[in-house]
């Protein structure tokens, strides 16, 4: 009897807590975004400022750009923040998003082992560096996950005149995972990898890796924000989602983005007012 009563008590307590989870009436929006914005700590910095001003809680799901757009397409997010302009424009053109607004940019860096087997260090030319890696079959880790960084990598191979589908061999390791996993893999096998600067700066398991190529304008990485179209998905919280977008591109939101630094380095450069970004 004794144990039965305990069991009953536990049952009630658990059911109670379960219903408490179900009835969470907080005001919130869901944002699907990329791993770089979360892993870099940017959202941890700016979201509390937005919440303090509006009372809206922002729940961020971090995925690759392709997956994040897909989450928006299915209506599982209210706002998407990603970095692959052509895919973003397609998303809007297909009627899934209301409008794309530029928010900020950061840049990619080519990471590689300090021993530098492809001898690309100190060049500012990312295309020449990729050609050297391919011609020497130096180990290279690719995200391979349809993320914005993966898309950027593929574009760079194309710019270098290399058909990567043809050229890839055992040296080209397509891992199909996020930025952190790609850096961990590169660190473990001393390979080259294309990374966004923010994730790299926040990454701790560097081993022998260091920045090899940076500063090429072709490495700039523009982020855009889009409200998921409530005409497609009526449950989308258009008002609160738009409030978040308006704040991000307002002077106040832009300042908050620019204020975020690691070791004194700005990670994301606000450029909402730059035409054509």
């Amino acid at each position: 009897m004794f144990t039965r009563r305990i069991f009953l008590g536990l049952t009630m307590a658990t059911l109670f807590s379960a219903s408490a989870i179900a009835q969470n009436n907080e005001r919130f929006i869901v944002v699907s975004s990329t791993t770089s914005t979360t892993d870099s700590g940017l959202f941890n910095h700016i979201l509390p400022l937005f919440k303090a001003k509006t009372g809206i809680d922002v729940r961020v799901i971090s995925q690759g750009t392709g997956q994040a757009l897909d989450t928006g397409k299915r209506g599982d997010a209210d706002v998407v923040i990603v970095h692959a302009k052509s895919q973003e424009e397609k998303f809007v053109a297909e009627g899934f998003g209301v409008e794309r607004k530029p928010v900020m940019y950061n840049d990619f860096v080519l990471i590689g082992p300090k021993a530098d087997p492809a001898a690309v260090k100190n060049t500012k030319d990312i295309v020449a560096a990729l050609k050297a890696i391919q011609s020497r079959s130096a180990l290279f880790v690719s995200r391979g996950d349809k993320s914005g960084t993966h898309a950027a990598e593929l574009t760079l191979w194309k710019t270098a005149g290399i058909d990567i589908d043809q050229a890839k061999g055992p040296w080209y390791r397509d891992i199909g995972q996020g930025m952190g996993a790609a850096l961990n893999t590169a660190s473990a096998m001393n390979a080259y990898v294309l990374a966004d600067r923010a994730t790299w700066l926040n990454f701790k398991n560097r081993g022998d890796l260091a920045i090899m190529v940076e500063g090429d304008t072709r490495l700039f990485n523009q982020y855009g924000v889009i409200l998921v179209d409530p005409k497609k998905h009526p449950h989308v919280k258009a008002k609160d989602g738009q409030a978040f977008i308006d704040w991000l591109i307002s002077a106040e939101g832009q300042r908050a983005i620019g204020d975020y630094k690691i070791n004194g380095e700005i990670l994301f450069f606000p450029n909402a007012s730059q035409p054509g970004a």
Partner: protein, 234 residues
């Protein structure tokens, strides 16, 4: 990698009762325990029924449920994801990326274990005490409460196995919970996140804490069943 510093950082999270960390542990426990409870409420009667019922295709069902004990968490996650997505059949409930979705996914993972182990336990007890129970007038399904009560210690072990599966998995909660900070971030998704940030030491520290918690829960359940056994005089 400075392991010692990482461990002291990880254990500092406990000793300081860091609120963010406590919330993560609390959510992990709430989700997994609720899932085990739901699985018990569904699985115990269902398993007992399956032990006593005789119908065509029963063996097939038994094999299928046994096989489902090995259901990969990502597959359970994917199924729940597709069902709960706004574009899925239950999308209007708005449950995707909430703790409720995580509970549903983990319940799916635990349920086959509870059903299978209950069926095996009850089947054995029934073959042993059939005559005795029949003499007491407890025939067929009327014997179920008694059989479940008599098998409670074996069943507790089954529920602990279920809890172990629920609290250990990362694939399903990551997919249907979304690993949202302060909302759906659990112990296992935090470990995965810290690993992806390259903070392997902190991830390892958190792993040790997770294993310690599991050890404590199993210890508590073992002690409770020992005390219970003494009370029951068996």
């Amino acid at each position: 990698m400075d392991l010692l510093a990482a461990f002291s950082e990880a254990f500092g999270l406990i000793t300081r009762l860091d609120p963010g960390f406590v919330a993560i542990v609390g959510l992990s426990l709430r989700v997994s325990l609720t899932a085990v409870l739901l699985a018990a409420l569904i699985g115990l009667p269902l398993g007992a029924w399956l032990a006593l019922a005789r119908f065509p295709g029963r063996s097939l069902l038994v094999v299928a449920i046994n096989a489902l004990m090995g259901l990969p968490p990502v597959v359970a996650g994917l199924i729940v994801f597709l069902v709960l997505s706004r574009s899925g059949p239950l999308g209007s409930l708005g449950l995707l990326f909430t703790p409720s979705a995580m509970i549903i996914a983990q319940t799916l993972l635990v349920l086959p274990i509870v059903i299978s182990l209950t069926r095996a336990t009850v089947e054995e007890l029934w073959s042993e005490y059939r005559d005795h129970l029949t003499a007491l007038g407890l025939t067929g399904f009327r014997a179920v409460p008694t059989l479940l009560w008599d098998g409670r210690f074996a069943l507790t072990t089954g529920l602990l196995a279920g809890f172990g599966r629920a609290s250990a998995e990362v694939g399903a909660v990551l997919m249907v919970g979304g690993n949202i900070a302060h909302y759906t971030r659990t112990m296992t998704t935090t470990i995965a996140l810290e690993t992806s940030k390259g903070d392997l030491a902190l991830a390892l520290g958190l792993s040790l804490i997770l294993m310690t918690l599991t050890l404590m829960i199993n210890g508590a359940a073992y002690a409770a069943s020992r005390i219970g056994a003494r009370f029951a005089g068996s």
